[in-house]
């Protein structure tokens, strides 16, 4: 009865790859669990899921999942995922990306994916630092935080990713932290069900680099900080800028359906050529 002792999410994982490479207490594992939980709640077929990821700690996640996955060049997972979705619109494309991957090198791909409103779910694990390369400051590091390239603290202003993607036109945007696992599950469920560009930003802990440089040495310290400084969007809208200093605004930023890119494109092809696109699913045809 060995199977009974396994975690409920083990059936989706490549067991021969475990234990995973992430540091003790890394948030990536929590996001992985909440993704499976949200997928079960959204009643999405696991076989229809295809994952794409770029480079970074968080982009190693698809390597542990028993589904079709693409591990692509740095910053370009959304471009690859666009091709994947247009090649076979029946797939549920999920992109796992980090803050360096989505906001720094792949910033343009992110906003143009959102502008096109192509149907995919982008889960951005934002740990506010470049964890894989040694703790350099990323575009989302909070002002005043320390890193190996900012020994006196960051003075640059950080990106607000959720607001950026909302402004770029994504149809479902939410931000939660790893300390809000149940709310995050719900957001992933809504993101998977949304027909359009869904962006879920997860503020995650990196105890190894962000924690060590910012006096939050253990994952527990970091998660307590995230839990205590989280303010819901509805409440934050009524607070002043001074009150919101050092807080993490969590909640739903956008949720309004718009015409979806692959749908529109296929409708146009059918309208102009009088038949369904031949390109779609050509690799899957029996002849």
């Amino acid at each position: 009865m060995e199977e009974n002792n396994e975690s409920p999410f083990m059936k989706y994982l490549r067991k021969d790859r475990l234990p995973n490479i992430f540091c003790a207490g890394c948030g990536n594992g929590i996001v992985l669990n909440t993704f499976f939980n949200g997928m079960e709640m959204a009643e999405v077929d696991f076989d229809s899921i295809a994952m794409a990821s770029g480079i970074g700690c968080s982009s190693r996640i698809p390597g542990y999942v028993k589904c079709d996955s693409l591990h692509t060049t740095h910053g370009r997972p959304i471009s690859f995922a666009t091709g994947l979705k247009l090649g076979n619109p029946d797939l549920n494309v999920v992109v796992f990306t980090g803050d360096g991957d989505a906001a720094a090198i792949g910033g343009n791909h992110l906003i143009h994916g959102a502008r096109r409103n192509i149907d995919m779910t982008v889960i951005c694990i934002n740990n506010s630092i470049y964890g894989m390369t040694g703790g350099q400051i990323s575009p989302t590091s909070p002002q005043g935080s320390y890193g190996s390239t900012a020994p006196y603290g960051v003075f640059e202003r950080p990106f607000d990713l959720a607001e950026l993607v909302t402004a770029a036109g994504a149809t479902y945007v939410a931000r939660w932290t790893t300390a809000h696992a149940l709310q995050l599950t719900n957001a992933i469920k809504k993101g998977l069900n949304n027909k359009g560009f869904s962006f879920i930003e997860v503020i995650s802990q990196c105890p190894t680099y962000f924690g060590r440089k910012n006096k939050l040495r253990t994952p527990i310290d970091m998660m307590r900080w995230m839990k205590d400084s989280g303010v819901n969007k509805l409440k934050a809208d009524q607070m002043s800028a001074e009150e919101l200093e050092g807080k993490i605004v969590v909640g739903e930023f956008a949720n309004e359906p718009q015409p979806e890119f692959s749908n529109e494109l296929y409708n146009l092809i059918e309208e102009k050529y009088g038949q369904k696109s031949q390109a779609a699913k050509s690799a899957y045809r029996e002849d």
């Binding site: 002792n5 669990n33 696992a181």
Partner: protein
Amino acid sequence: MIKLDPNLCKGCSICTEFCPKNVYENSKTPDKRGIRIPVPKNQDKCTQCNLCALMCPDQAIKVDEEDE
């Protein structure tokens, strides 16, 4: 019944901290990897909310429903 896989656990203590009923306790003695693996000491308090299984970053925890 809480089952914990000692080969997958990395001893981050997230389950100890976030269990709403304080079911877990860190073991006093480290194992041979130097990790203090949490022990579900107060299993009678467990309400099977499954939060520990959801928040375990290493998929090491399974919470079984009580079979009488």
